[in-house]
Symmetry: C2
Subunit: 170 residues, 2 copies
């Protein structure tokens, strides 16, 4: 279940974010504005801009899964140098490809896994606590904020773009 909550669902949300950024690109083209205007937008002067929201969403997905699986040391590095929508899309696809390398077996010991981050100064969470209380709220925060920045700028995105397809049975 932690596999479904992190690997599968984070991958889905990055796919949704990618489609939302495609809408942003189409909007910029239609309105004849530079896409960088959107990438540099934010909702408050001391808030991260759209580029940074996407970068953090990617890292939250990548490191969220990696830390809970005890594989953070082998996660691919990303240097936060993206300046275009195309580069952000490449990063998203990189992370989706990385997430695809995990299997449910990687999460068997999530409850006993110890997770930490440099800024926690030695303190730890269990893998399950980290997945539910930290990685999950964080990825949704940054994707929702990216969405809100674009919505505020007039891009025609709606809740369905954010949620993505549901595996409905009829």
């Amino acid at each position: 279940m932690i596999y479904d909550l992190t690997v599968v669902q984070f991958s889905k949300m990055l796919t949704n974010l990618s489609a939302i950024l495609d809408k942003a690109a189409a909007f910029a083209e239609t309105k004849k504005i530079a896409p960088e205007v959107l990438l540099n937008s934010r909702l408050a002067p001391d808030q991260f801009n759209l580029t940074r929201q996407v970068q953090i969403a990617c890292d939250t997905a990548k490191l969220g899964a990696a830390r809970v699986a005890g594989k953070a040391d082998s996660a691919p590095k990303h240097e936060d140098t993206e300046t275009t929508l195309a580069q952000l899309q490449t990063r998203i696809q990189d992370v989706i490809a990385y997430l695809a390398t995990f299997t449910p077996a990687d999460f068997t010991n999530a409850a006993s896994q110890t997770v930490s981050q440099p800024r926690w100064e030695g303190k730890t969470l269990s893998g399950v606590e980290f997945a539910i209380q930290h990685a999950t709220p964080n990825i949704y925060f940054h994707i929702s904020t990216a969405y809100a920045i674009l919505r505020h700028n007039g891009v025609d995105v709606g809740k369905k773009d954010y949620l993505g397809a549901m595996p409905y049975k009829s």
Copy 2:
């Protein structure tokens, strides 16, 4: 685990939202503006305002847990009549109290539970699919949006207010 993902974590997030709304109330008092200005704020003309974001966050928590547990019929009703921060705080506390009536045993059959909503026209999700792919992204979406509306208006909220306390071990 579905109990922790929904009941426990949704209750925590509503507690965080309540504290964020307290900051909004203090901000309004300091700036000598009517709190209703914040309650009616939105980031796009066709987006729900802050009041509605809080109402939907409450319903997502309440019905998210109730539907996965197969108890939607007995969930308390809320009529969406709140017009003040105090009334929204009361609703949040109502839902937190309702969530406290659940136990982990209510979620034993979440994988085989069938969940539907009127707008799905007879289609269904399993309880686990609904919890992970629908209720969870939705509650974070509406709490993040409520946060973003307040941040955009100048309220001094940060990521820690959104995430709340972590159960760190040292």
